[in-house]
Subunit: 473 residues, 4 copies
């Protein structure tokens, strides 16, 4: 017989070995399926609808360690989902201890009830862990923003130096994005919902069971107890409405996109030629024995890798939902599972790495200053032109309407004549412009990049103050 080998993420360093991977593994999903089945039997036992003495065997058997994941996966093909073989194996395990108890499982339920609810459990469990890590990362970003609130750094637009800014200002954008995505996730996690309706969502089988057993407890009460036990919301059955699934998927995708931006920035900044940032150093990470000078930015590479997969994983969840039809879809539903787990897992792993990245980020203000100085005074020509142009016409230096063009001509000359990074703009302007237009000291001020960062510091304060309490909540 063929030995079945499991996948551990050998081809997926974006999530291999992460906590998120452990909490979303096939094992964890089987456990979630068993948790749902078990919780329902417990609800029925508490209501006196199944014998209390059945519960011992039902509880004992509800441990994923006792199930052959490979066999369940392979047999799941027969019915199109893993719950069917798992339920058989669960019943058999229960029956070993207490044969009668095997019939006290899965009463009035359908496999979709268990699958959808287990997926919501996984989302909630993994999501809450991810959320906590997001908050820690956000707290680290707040600190980083505060620490480098006034550290000059050039802003880049389409790869090019645009205006002077600060590293703190860049960090607040990381914070904004990650915290907003985190708050959205926090909100959607409160919407993780029980699905409970039987084969057609009508609760026909459950109601029939309650009739047969002359139950005084209503279906509504039982289902509410189940939701409560599992920590899930309790809307009406929604098996043929996949919007609740899309809402969850969206939030995780937002999170990994926010992480990806941070990684992208770091990946530019750790280049030898840029040198403004360094990843935290850790033993055994990012090191090449053949090329000892390299410090591979592995955290960022793998966060970027995670981010590059998110759009397709999200599209795959949507593709499943878009193929939804009738009361249970013929392939669409099945398409959601792997992608949803993939999104939750990859997103969680990306957040873990982002947390480590921003918590230990090495910042090199000297290199920031050096790079800023490459275009130095040129970065503030926008301001210089704004101030001086109006004076040219009134003082007869330029013809009417030609004032800006006149100054831009001087800038172009300075760019052409000067060596890179050493433009002759200031001497040229002083030589060409009469003193009544501008003095040397005024020109020094007008062209000083560090005095042209606008509201950056104020906005750092404002934005960090918006998220600081939440990050510690």
């Amino acid at each position: 017989m063929r030995v079945l080998h499991g996948d551990y993420g050998v081809l997926s360093p974006a999530w291999a070995g992460s906590q998120a991977a452990a909490i979303t593994s096939d094992h964890a999903f089987i456990q979630a399926l068993l948790d749902v089945e078990h919780a329902w039997s417990a609800v029925l036992a508490e209501a006196g609808l199944i014998p209390q003495e059945h519960l011992g065997a039902i509880t004992d058997a509800a441990n994923a360690d006792d199930y052959d994941l490979a066999a369940i996966a392979a047999e799941g093909v027969g019915g199109g989902n893993p719950l069917i073989p798992l339920l058989g194996a669960y019943r058999a395990n229960v029956a070993k201890t207490n044969p009668a108890a095997a019939s006290s499982i899965h009463i009035g339920a359908t496999s979709q009830d268990i699958m959808d609810t287990a997926m919501m459990l996984i989302i909630k469990r993994a999501g809450e862990q991810t959320l906590a890590t997001i908050k820690s990362a956000a707290a680290a970003l707040v600190s980083l923003a505060h620490e480098y609130r006034d550290t000059p750094m050039v802003a880049r637009s389409l790869t090019q130096h645009s205006l002077p800014a600060t590293f703190g200002w860049r960090v607040t954008h990381w914070l904004q994005a990650l915290a907003q995505a985190g708050q959205n996730l926090e909100q959607t996690l409160t919407q993780t919902a029980l699905q409970w309706g039987g084969a057609a969502g009508t609760r026909a089988s459950l109601q029939d069971f309650l009739t047969r057993t002359n139950s005084t407890v209503t279906a509504d009460e039982l289902v509410a107890d189940l939701a409560n036990k599992l920590g899930l919301q309790n809307p009406p059955p929604w098996q043929a409405n996949r919007v609740p699934v899309l809402v969850q998927a969206d939030s995780f995708a937002q999170v990994v996109a926010a992480c990806g931006k941070i990684a992208n920035d770091v990946l530019i900044s750790v280049r030898s030629e840029n040198g403004e940032l360094g990843e935290p150093l850790a033993a055994g990470r990012g090191i090449s024995s053949a090329m000892p000078h390299k410090q591979n930015p592995v955290l960022s590479v793998l966060i970027k890798n995670a981010a590059l997969t998110a759009p397709q994983l999200l599209a795959q969840v949507y593709t499943g939902a878009v193929a939804n039809v009738e009361e249970r879809a013929d392939g669409g539903w099945h398409t959601e599972w792997e992608a949803l787990r993939g999104l939750v897992r990859t997103s969680g792993a990306a957040v873990e790495k982002t947390h480590e990245l921003v918590s230990g980020l090495r910042v090199f203000p000297d290199r920031m200053a050096e790079n800023l100085a490459r275009h130095g005074e040129l970065l503030a020509t926008e301001r210089m032109v704004a101030h001086l142009a109006p004076r040219l016409e009134e003082r007869g230096v330029a013809d009417a309407g030609q004032d800006k063009k006149y100054l831009q001509g001087l800038i172009s000359r300075a760019l052409t004549e000067g060596a890179a990074g050493e433009t002759q703009l200031k001497p040229l302007l002083l030589a060409e412009l009469p003193a009544e237009v501008v003095t040397e000291s005024e020109l020094n001020n007008l062209l000083d990049p560090s005095a042209y960062t606008g509201d950056a510091a104020m906005l750092v304060d404002q934005i960090t103050s918006t998220y600081i309490d939440w990050s510690h909540s």
Copy 2:
């Protein structure tokens, strides 16, 4: 010179000719860009920061009809976005009337401010129209659910008849999905936000302008006025944080997925062999002169078409965001635009069609009944087994633990022996089971599909009552 021809959706019947297409066209986007520029000049004029007399020319020139869309699109390639050539043309048009006014435009702004804000305006304008149509469709669905609350229909799972249900019950799932997506959209539309920060998001240029003009009005006040004038939220600058964009994209994608499910159901139901539903009839739609018996379900086909594009459009918006880097991305930002517009446009058009579809849907209860009868009594065997199995062992008909297996054996025999749709289950059971296990009249009840719809009617009432007020809001 090459004549430039516009695209009108010749290859995109999913949105061609829709209201959503009109409100999201290139023309509409150019208008939104002009609206943002104009509103900013108006704010500055009101604050006395530019001459009040400039505003006339600035207002007169802010009409998209006066701009050559093809030229602006083609020239947009030079700077990577259409705002740059539009701004040049706008200034030139203003200058024709009032040369001095041309310098009272775009003060302290950067092209990303205008582009992002205009995109939010388009989202808001189109989204509000789409939302209104969603509500109308939801209202129609409430009526449909009420009308067919008790109309028997078989539920299908993986294409197969599963249990008896009602058409009203199916409709409530359409309603749930569309209304939840609509409510999410309603919520995210309240978050459409102004982006205003200048080239590095720091408002450096604006602050410098206020300093030069000795303004007593603050930047914060001016920006708040602008947001207010445009009907947008006013968060701090977010140009390098794309989560606000993702949030919007998600909501539109949810909407079109919800529409897609309805279309999928209709596309199965209008098949000759099924015949349970018909699309509303309209002159010139769905008719083939060569094949007059055909009534092509064109609304549903095009809604499905729209739904099939949504996952990729959403993935494209995310791909753009995932390529975000530094203060303005080198291609990622540009990737968002076409996809975002595509999502808003296609989603809106799908809603328009869905509204028409569900408002005029032709329902054929006779065909529903006929199809339900195909497996008639078999649909309730789950219940029959649940009731009778326990009696078999106690009455000595089956060995211990074999009761269900015994009944399933009888069902299999009935399936094998009977012709399709005319199983001999009831006679066989009556012949094989002693009267103390079941009487004919009890068996009739147990196997009656119409008596096995569980909470369907109650859930129709519950779910419709949840959304009815909102649908009329």
Copy 3:
């Protein structure tokens, strides 16, 4: 310590338990990595460049069974790929037997050489198995097309009956698509290529090694030997050119799309209301104990599931390639792996299921005939109009230019007045049209659907003859 659990496809019935899954597992990939390392050492030993006696230990240690997949996956995060920890473990295993031999591994190679080449090996191994199964499925389709060459069946367009055709004709489209995709795969599998170039692709380290060892064998000769040993093509180093990877991915995606079409058709046809086809019956598959009348079309559902994932998997491979940069990408390369394996695995599993499906497909010509009869004579009205219209004007029945409109009016009346499936078209036409326009026997011929299938039979012969030899090759 946390126990690491592997994934077995619990959430992926589309491939769980398939042969394709076994041949593409993490275990299989680790084996492929070891195969590449081992083959290179063997090449060097054969050339006398490393001691022949090292090879024993190097061979013995090249067995994936001896490696901890979970640990390698987790440690792969440190360097961004699994080869780095695997190589460490491989060297350690070799050293246990022969310490000196550990330095005879990986000479002049870089981790990308091993990763890319191993991926090509997996593609080739899995692809050849998949190709063989495609050919078997194609052979089954040829038989099916021949068997049902003349079995009448209605063609459907946009869900609606369009014209009469045959089941054989439909099957030839399945055949065309699957065989074309298979032939494309066959072609691209011949292009699976060795990647061998060292860290910058320049073979600097290898050339230096050959210099140091005074080798008389050239690098070109050694690399050619390696390609030959692995059964791969030997182009120049291509590590920063990902087109060779895209070419492979495309072929697998085409295959699964072709399978998806077959599944879609079956999923419509197995519906109770349609009933034209049935999936092959197999113990334990598609059966619901609660709903014994159901025969879930699980093969088709899972093929459709596979097909629904292919577009995103392909997009993910492309997304990786699109993020390619410099001599080794910072995340793009890593993004290819999981998606490529996913595509190869899912595609292979879909083909296995498709082979089983079409080999045992149950065909019900009676139901085909019954469904065809629903619109019976209406399906040939196109022909009737073509024949009769020209006669109307010349015989004074209709005004000039109104002949078609006249006949369509009669068809519309027949549609309106007749019950579904029992139109009164023929009696109406005979009543309204003079005998000199058409006689009853001619009308019978004109409206006979089975006489209006055009070239269907001839095309079945032509198309099957195109692929029959290939399918047995």
Copy 4:
């Protein structure tokens, strides 16, 4: 009435204004539809099956300029495709000149025949233009590779300097990828195929027409004439087999991915901090009046933008194909159109920009040398270790098996002690290692990066020679 405005690519600078956009516009597609209809009538006239005198009016009306694109697009919604209203308008235009000729159009054809064939025409027309531009770009790359064959440049791996290489070597990877994609496109363009089969693909209507007209020409002959006239292949009808469409889509996606890699490299290289490359300068491109020092790399930004959209466009074509069902799909087919056109258009535009980019690329060998010198001697430590390690043990400097570790320790010390870019490796090694291990002059050689580029120059020659003839073909 609402004025309908066309889209010109205002939101799509990736293709706005390109030649590819002109050749794939709605106008061009309408022209292709008319070309197909017209060619078929011409074939029939040549065969004497329609009156020769009809052809004048049919030819005169086959000009897209005479049709209202907006109206056709909007009316296309009624039947689900634009051919239906276009055919009506075409017939009406023909009838204005020659009323009888209106019935000599579209004989035996179905709208899918015209749509699929027109799409193939567009693919062929645009593809051939794109292919020619690819060849020109490849020729430019060959020249570039030759010119910079020996220009030292550091190779980068995961953003980090890895080994010395040359700019010519990098360019050959650009060439490999673009030329391979181009050759694949060249191959698939030879497979653009006529689709001709009528509503069910059986040619029933056409055969009936030939019978009615007592034609001596066969359907096969006529269809072959049509294919020949249109310059397309002539396989059997394939309307329900979408693999021929996927094959085309794949090739265009490969092309844009190859362009994307070039753009990514340029976008890194034009950064101030890197400075190794510059985009060609052109008036009005990439210039910011506010920030005159910026030279936005707009070509590369827009190529990257194009590349970022390709995966989703390709996925959308596949999504359409995966939704294929029966003889004409209910939404899947429709989903292909916009995405296919998008892929052809964007890919063509990306190639145009890539051609311009590589033809005028500004190369700065000084900056390459400067950057290479950052890690200078460290880049060759791999070689130094390989040479010296074996000597350490034999000369008693290091313990058995510790030789590499000993040297790596020295490298680490040098890295720690030296300032960035100015390591003290050479002095340290000379101080610590006895002269019998290494002499200063040998060490100079071992650590010279420019002497460690392996086969780079040879591979440049080999690879360029592979493609040079093709690029001029």
